[in-house]
């Protein structure tokens, strides 16, 4: 009889039976959080940072306007442009755009429409002010400058 016992055979397989469950869980997470984008954004979107953020509760009441330098500068030039849905619009078209957005909402919710301005950091104030003037005329006065969250002590 030997002094040393033969080493027990250790099973080295990782149990894989729960793998589909794990994957499904991840899948459901992404399915719930995902938001399919109907439009591709054609302007630069380096979103600025701020600390005093407010969250919008109801997504259905939000309409997005993207402002920034076009990605295809050789085609559209370097001047910042306004993108609504999937087309570039001029400030004068904004009233019509606002009315379109309002008509999508129920009548009693139309005054709650919030316009979310997703503006590139390098865009100038001029174009944004033009947009704001038109929004005032179109009576869409709830505005949100979309920003990222910044850690407090990083402030310059």
């Amino acid at each position: 009889m030997s002094k040393f016992k033969k080493k027990a055979v250790v099973k080295q397989d990782i149990p894989t039976s729960s793998m589909p469950d794990v994957v499904f869980m991840l899948l459901f997470f992404f399915m719930v959080t995902t938001e399919l984008r109907e439009t591709s954004i054609e302007v630069m979107q380096r979103i600025p940072e701020a600390t005093q953020l407010r969250k919008l509760q109801r997504k259905s009441l939000v309409a997005n306007l993207f402002i920034g330098e076009p990605k295809k500068t050789e085609q559209y030039g370097k001047e910042p442009k306004i993108q609504a849905d999937d087309v570039f619009i001029e400030p004068k078209d904004i009233i019509r755009w606002v009315n379109e957005q309002k008509s999508k909402l129920a009548e009693n919710e139309r005054d709650q429409l919030t316009v979310s301005l997703k503006v590139d950091t390098e865009a100038k104030r001029g174009i944004i002010a033009d947009v704001e003037t038109e929004l005032r005329k179109g009576n869409a006065r709830k505005l949100l400058y979309t920003t990222m969250e910044k850690k407090k002590d990083e402030r310059i």
Binding site: L26, R37, P48, T121, R125, A129, E132, L144, T147
Partner: protein, 184 residues
């Protein structure tokens, strides 16, 4: 008699799930609807009489086309003290003759140029709103973050209570003036 039990092969289940997972991973954009919220004034009415405000009730912040800051007529390089300055202005309640008479009368005017970058605009607006939210949160006896959370969702009773308590007597009067046309 041996009866064969019907079975669905489930070995490929993980593969299918992975495929779907990859699809959603690629197409996903986590919703980001957070930012600085403001309310625009109603459209300009030409018949509206021009209201004059007393100079000491106005706190003027100006940014020019090269993003330089002018606060109450003084150039400012370091914005770290701006928030406290605004808070002092709002909560002055007539103590200093140069500052506001009362929080209701205090107005922060913010004027930019057409050439001011959006980054700078947001940075300064953030500071102004920070001053107001700090005051409101203090009045409501909660933290700044909690107050903003409550203000974002007024559907619950406690949130509404906090919101109303905080902003009582201190309206957020930020006037964003039409930008000047030097740059841009």
């Amino acid at each position: 008699m041996a009866r064969s039990t019907p079975e669905i092969p489930n070995a490929s289940m993980a593969d299918i799930a992975f495929l779907l997972l990859t699809f959603f991973l690629v197409t996903t954009t986590i919703a980001n609807d957070r930012g600085l919220s403001i309310q625009l004034p109603p459209p300009l009415d030409p018949n509206q009489p021009i209201v004059e405000f007393q100079q000491h009730n106005l706190f003027t912040i100006q940014v020019n086309s090269s993003d330089a800051l002018l606060v109450e007529g003084e150039p400012m390089d370091d914005v770290s003290g701006l928030k406290e300055q605004i808070k002092k202005f709002i909560l002055n309640r007539g103590a200093d003759k140069e500052l506001s008479d009362s929080p209701e009368k205090a107005i922060v005017t913010y004027k930019t140029d057409r050439g001011t970058s959006h980054k700078r605009f947001v940075q300064v607006l953030d500071i102004i709103q920070n001053a107001y939210y700090d005051i409101w949160a203090e009045q409501a006896g909660v933290t700044n973050a909690r107050y903003r959370e409550a203000a974002s969702d007024l559907s619950s009773g406690t949130n509404k209570e906090i919101y109303e308590k905080g902003r009582k007597g201190v309206p957020m009067a930020i006037s964003i003036a039409e930008p000047t046309k030097v740059g841009g």
